[in-house]
Symmetry: C2
């Protein structure tokens, strides 16, 4: 696996029972996964020769993140290395411009969008949004917050953004200068009037077998995923099925191998629009570690190795995942004493990262029959581990 | 953790989510756990200086096996090292003579037994068994298989035996020469007329908190654990409670820290007698990885670190564990294809060991509402992975 973050850490954990010899390419020996894997190579994933040397000891290569340059992945494939997901699929998770164009082509509903080059383009895009359906591709929600000038508009660098980084919401063309300073292409999107965010997680193998996890609700705070509820409460059954089918279609059409997370907006008028794609285990699937028969990590490993996939069905009526952000506790031990004593059913997943304010350092999972109880337990534990709740 | 076997491998797996920095003392880099742990020291656990150097990087030491010499553990404790379980507890899992004497002293029912020095002692012990209750300590089943000479008698070396090694069942004093050849003390026990074998698994922390897992049925083939059914089918509720209380009593009286497995005989007349003790995660508790809220491995880690213990209750009505012994497949990949495709709910746990005939190389867990189905799925998968079932 290329990349030493928590996704690699948890993928290794899931691979141990399968007897997988897991090899890691990590930036530093202190990275989350590098702490717990035996066979670690320290190196720069942006360097092709480093990737080539790493790949020589592997049956198949997969990824903790989508930042490996697409051309390097193509070079590895040309060398005969099995890269899963391959560059032709992965580029859709790397480049939001490529992703939007492809989803348009296969008829997947997206927010209205356009590649823009300067603030003038943004103003023109906003004006078209204000006029209704004419604003480029996509089939957006078409409803604003009462404003008639098309703003606010969402601007995203097509590469490199995550967790709210590389994303701007601007209220006017004058505010739109910042995104263009980096000199990379910028995608403008309508700000969707959504009820909530959903995620449809599927896993697909090279053989074309695919499984779909229940559609979940993902609650963001300050652009960062805070809580995931599985399954999404009160979600219309037809809409849930449509979301699963959408994700399976995307996985098939884009040739995804491994885990695919499709982040969705549920609009006020009962439609779903694709927000983002991720082709790797994803925060919206962490609940599966304790909430489903086969976790996203185990199924990602199975898919990448072209093994039959495991059952994605839930083991409990409700499972809630709450992220733990870095806060006041540099040492978790005393917080563990409280959380474990308060809730013996709590599942803690920490990443071994140094605690920095706002950094994702772990998550907790809870499950049970009563959603209010399951939510309260997850939120209490996450808040206590962060230090924002004391009792 | 001292010892690089599969128990250390699975303990590491369970420690990853807690952010534990796991350090391993392993005989070779090829050992089961050494393949998957980052911080591995290769060394001989029988050498005190090796243990001392290893311990310097650890907050607490625990064990994959019970073979570390008791005097070394005492020396480490004298150095100020936290050893859990400590030598005063662990000696009861290391020395069957010490164990029997202590269990007698605290009133725990055991098979009738006596330390013997030569075949003549064995004959005398058998004669006393034949006469009834007079044969030394213990309160045995008191029922034979129709024979009246007290034979067969079970002979065990007091140290070093496992999985049927170091154990002999002799039909006469003439057959009893072999066990005495090694020059170590030998324990003679009546051969209990049991209905089945049970195991009571408990975990105890230094604070004295303890949790009990449901009592399981353990089915042996050729002296090696083959299948574990959780909970033990049809077990009388009072007897189950008695077994749990017995294990909790032993854990408390012996000062156990961590996981304690109490292997039991259920006698034809409805009593339970203690067969063996193990103070570490145990084969009879492997079902907890997928069948209980908190696994034996996670709870062992929590106990050793003096953290509050997790909920031991089952998540499914029935869970079955079946051991995978080495057989005809040196490479498991093709067997995985069959097993995973046949049963997407199957949980496979392989140890990364070279396959040798008869060697435990992994286990599978299945769970569900229908015991026959759960048993069939586990046995089929274990048999297929071994190569004794083809279809």
């Amino acid at each position: 696996m290329v990349g030493g973050g928590q996704l690699a850490r948890m993928t290794h954990e899931a691979g141990i029972p399968l007897g997988i010899r897991f090899k890691l390419l990590s930036d530093t020996p202190q990275d989350s996964a590098a702490q717990v894997v035996n066979d670690v190579v320290i190196g720069d994933y942006r360097d092709l020769e480093t990737l080539r040397a790493f790949a020589r000891g592997c049956d198949v290569i997969t990824f903790d993140h989508e930042h490996v340059p697409t051309e390097h992945l193509r070079a590895l494939e040309a060398d005969g290395v099995r890269v899963r997901p391959g560059p032709d699929a992965l580029v859709h998770a790397q480049d939001k411009g490529v992703m939007r164009a492809r989803l348009d082509a296969i008829g997947v509903p997206c927010p209205r969008h356009r590649i823009v080059s300067d603030p003038g383009d943004v103003a023109a895009f906003a004006a078209e949004l204000a006029e209704g359906e004419g604003a480029g591709e996509g089939e957006g929600a078409g409803e604003g917050d009462g404003r008639t000038d098309g703003f606010p508009v969402v601007l995203k660098t097509v590469r490199g953004g995550y967790d709210g980084k590389g994303v701007w919401v601007v209220d006017s063309a004058e505010e739109a200068a910042e995104p263009f300073r980096a000199g990379v292409p910028v995608l403008a999107e309508e700000k969707v009037d959504f009820v909530r965010e959903l995620a449809a997680n599927v896993v697909r193998s090279p053989h074309g077998q695919a499984v779909a996890y229940p559609v979940v609700e993902s609650q963001q705070v300050d652009g960062v995923c805070d809580t995931v509820i599985a399954p999404a409460p009160g979600l219309d059954e037809e809409l849930a099925l449509k979301a699963e089918q959408l994700a399976l279609t995307i996985a098939k059409e884009l040739g995804v191998v491994g885990h695919l997370a499709v982040e969705l907006f549920e609009t006020r008028d009962g439609r779903i629009l694709v927000n983002e794609l991720a082709m790797r285990p994803h925060n919206s699937g962490h609940w599966t570690q304790d909430g489903s028969i086969t976790s996203q990590f185990a199924n990602h490993v199975r898919a990448v190795l072209d093994l039959p996939l495991g059952d994605p069905r839930p083991r409990a009526r409700w499972t809630v995942m709450a992220n733990v952000l870095g806060g006041d506790y540099p040492d978790m031990y005393s917080a563990y004493l409280h959380c474990m004593a308060r809730d013996p059913q709590l599942k803690i997943h920490m990443y071994g990262k140094d605690v920095k304010p706002g950094r994702k350092v772990g998550h907790v999972n809870t499950y049970g029959d009563d959603l209010d109880d399951v939510l309260e337990r997850a939120r209490h534990a996450a808040g206590y581990l962060r230090g924002t709740i004391t009792e």
